[in-house]
């Protein structure tokens, strides 16, 4: 499965994931503390500059990922035009785009495996409560593996429906789909037990 990490290698790809997450947390806290439009504009400009550093391909990919925000930007613009508080609207809009942009930046420059290692490290203290980190890691690996497997089986179901029915694919296909997920889970559980279990 393709993760959201950018294929364009940047310098930040080699920084430790923990450091990037700490920087992101700091930047986000600062971002929400700034209450002036000018301050937010500076943050926004810095974010755009960071995206532009690795080249235009990286910048375009970054902008592409912010596209989901435009309905909200339209809503903010219309709302604040209506109540006549444009400065407040600009502040909220800039902050939202910058906050999402900075967070995406960390995702785009960090490999999935590095991120998963951070999660495993964060799970380690759970040992105190008798939770072992190994099953959690196994569960995460299972999901990563089974998302494409399940989607593939889902597409087969859809094709089987289309081959047999004149009607459009409807909600009824979800029942056999869920049955497939349950059966796969039972098979994997059996396979794990056969290999010594957890």
């Amino acid at each position: 499965m393709i993760s959201l990490t950018s294929p364009v290698e940047t310098r930040a790809h080699h920084w430790p994931a923990g450091l990037k997450l700490a920087l992101l947390s700091g930047a986000t806290v600062a971002l929400f503390a700034v209450e002036t439009v000018l301050g937010q504009a500076l943050f926004f400009a810095t974010m755009v500059a960071l995206y532009a550093l690795p080249g235009s391909g990286f910048l375009r990919a970054g902008i592409d990922r912010l596209r989901m925000l435009w309905p909200f930007l339209v809503l903010i613009a219309l709302w604040h035009l209506a109540i006549g508080e444009l400065a407040a609207g600009a502040l909220i809009a800039l902050r939202m785009v910058t906050a999402v942009g900075l967070a995406n930046l960390v995702t785009m420059t960090t490999k999935l495996s590095d991120m998963l290692r951070v999660i495993e490290r964060l799970c380690a203290p759970l040992r105190i409560f008798g939770v072992r980190p190994e099953p959690i890691a196994l569960a995460m690996a299972l999901v990563v593996r089974f998302v494409p497997v399940l989607s593939g089986k889902g597409h087969l179901l859809v094709m089987a429906w289309r081959a047999r029915a004149a009607r459009r694919v409807g909600w009824r296909i979800l029942l056999p789909f869920a049955v497939i997920a349950i059966d796969d889970a039972e098979h994997v559980a059996e396979a794990l037990r056969a290999r010594g279990g957890l």
Binding site: I2, S3, L4, T5, L24, R65, M68, L69, F72, L75, W79, I92, M96, A99, V100, G101, A103, V106, T107, M108, T110, L112, M115, L116, I119, P135, A139, M140, L142, V143, V144, F146, V147, L150, S151, G154, V158, R168, V169, G170, W171, I173, L174, L175, F177, A178, V179, A181, I182, D183, D184, A185, E186, V188, A189, E190, L192, R193, G197, L198
Partner: protein, 182 residues
């Protein structure tokens, strides 16, 4: 233990797969993404604890950078975007759905699952969603609620479907309905 773990993992994968499959079209022409239906099913099938864990596992992997949210979204940006409340609400909604499901042992599976999904998957999830919108867009509760009302009818339909699907699973794979088997 193995079975609990694989069921949790496979239902997390099911939430993701339901977000990836092309949109389903209901009889009267309303397209829906089935992702929140997956969250409801986690609760109605696996119960509060395991259902909540399945949705939590899904959420953690989205944050780690997998594009598993409907529309191929994912990564840390989800946490600072306007839909953060819905995202954070997924595990809580699955847990709440499972909790209500477990409270209604005597009711028929279809009714119990539909009501539990309505309470957990719609009421609880939208409460979180609306608070998230209030925080990011800096609006009052009424304005934020207005923004999401358009999606509520679709999610009520999904709660009914969750009831029907859970009842179907009770007939097809009764042993896997952990919310009724303890």
């Amino acid at each position: 233990m193995e079975r609990s773990l694989t069921l949790v993992a496979l239902f997390a994968a099911l939430i993701a797969a339901l977000g990836l499959v092309p949109k389903l079209t209901l009889g009267f022409g309303v397209p829906i993404t089935a992702q929140s239906l997956g969250v409801m099913l986690c609760g109605t099938v696996l119960g509060a604890k395991r259902g909540g864990l399945a949705a939590l596992l899904f959420a953690v992997l989205v944050l780690a950078g997998l594009p598993l949210l409907a529309g191929g979204r994912g990564g840390l940006g989800v946490l600072t975007g306007p839909t953060v409340g819905f995202f954070v609400g997924f595990p809580v909604a699955a847990f709440a759905t499972g909790f209500f499901m477990e409270q209604m042992q005597r009711m028929s599976v279809a009714w119990a699952a539909a009501i539990a999904s309505l309470l957990g998957g719609v009421l609880v999830l939208y409460s979180f969603g609306i608070v998230g919108m209030m925080m990011i867009l800096q609006k009052g509760p009424v304005e934020a609620a207005l923004l999401v009302t358009a999606f509520i009818p679709g999610d009520i339909v999904k709660a009914v479907l969750a009831g029907l699907i859970t009842a179907g699973l009770m007939r097809a794979r009764p042993a896997a309905i952990l919310s009724r088997n303890g």
